[in-house]
Point group: C2
Chain length 192, copies 2
């Protein structure tokens, strides 16, 4: 399980590695800033869902805030981001990989695939944002293509999507300083 980047660094928490390719920001942080920009500009209302946590124990000290003293990370049952854009429901998952040549399916859970298929079936917009950190390239890939590739693994094909396939069939998202992962112009192009 990947732990969310929002986790503050505790005594035993490894520090996130920073290298020149990610400009010191994770994909999640970049997307959050982009969504904030979209919201401020009144372009789209897209939020990241909070990290699901199973809370086991809470203390209520007198005269101060409740403290959760025991909790565990839970697996998300949907994708991380959803919202509303130009009257349409929009839903996506974002992942980064250090792999140079492919995006391994081990990054995706089966129920996320199920969720993406449901979104498509009910008329929503569904895609993946995949960042190859070593190439410093971020792509938008329509979920139909991802689901098709995912299903082929059960027929003995590869358990990943190649970088080449994503580069050929996805859309490179340009890096901008206002909207760091400016995916809405690509959404306009594909889904409207």
């Amino acid at each position: 399980m990947n732990y969310p980047s929002g986790v503050k660094v505790g005594a035993k928490v490894k520090k996130r590695q920073t290298n020149y390719t990610n400009r010191g920001m994770t994909l999640e942080e970049d997307i959050n800033l982009t969504n904030e920009y979209y919201l401020n500009e009144n372009l789209a209302i897209i939020h990241k869902k909070p990290t699901p946590v199973q809370i086991v124990n809470v203390n209520y000290p007198k005269r101060s805030a409740a403290v959760i003293t025991e909790a565990y990370f839970k697996q998300a049952s949907t994708t991380d981001y959803n919202g509303l854009y130009r009257n349409r429901y929009i839903d996506f998952e974002a992942k980064e990989t250090k792999n140079l040549t492919s995006f391994p399916f081990s990054n995706i859970h089966e129920h996320q695939i199920t969720h993406m298929q449901q979104i498509i079936d009910h008329g929503g917009i569904s895609f993946f944002i995949i960042k190859f950190t070593q190439h410093d390239e971020t792509f938008l890939l329509d979920s139909n293509l991802l689901i098709a590739a995912w299903n082929k693994q059960f027929k003995g094909e590869r358990k990943s999507i190649t970088y080449k396939y994503i580069a050929d069939n996805g859309y490179l998202i340009p890096f901008k300083y206002t909207a760091r992962i400016d995916y809405l112009p690509i959404v306009d192009k594909i889904y409207f």
Copy 2:
């Protein structure tokens, strides 16, 4: 701040009071079961967002799951539920009150009002589900009406909506055993 009903009862956590009016289930639990039913019947894809938590400290014991040892409840920046129904984005908040004659605005945060207005402006469906536990009645109230009443409080009017107004202008949601808070037929009626 209201703590979520998903919190397991710890040493210092008060037990939730159960009385005959709520059949032992909170509104949240009833809505979660309803959404599960809708999902299984392939009618709608609506999920509750996880409770937002600020994680401060995590321990990684050898050979077992990471334990969050210090975290705090955060205020939600949006509404609790959203999803996709008949090609449309749907978004709502659910609240219960023990009050007999009115629903106090202290149950709502201003940024939730802002969020609901944004949803309306961008073509989404937005409403409130309000349960009067003492009456054992649950209503759906369109967000436009709620926002209008909310805004009037700043012109010196009441800081609540009366039960009578909600009963007259909202829609009583019938209790069913399959879909305990069966709100979709009302959504069909109002928004389609």
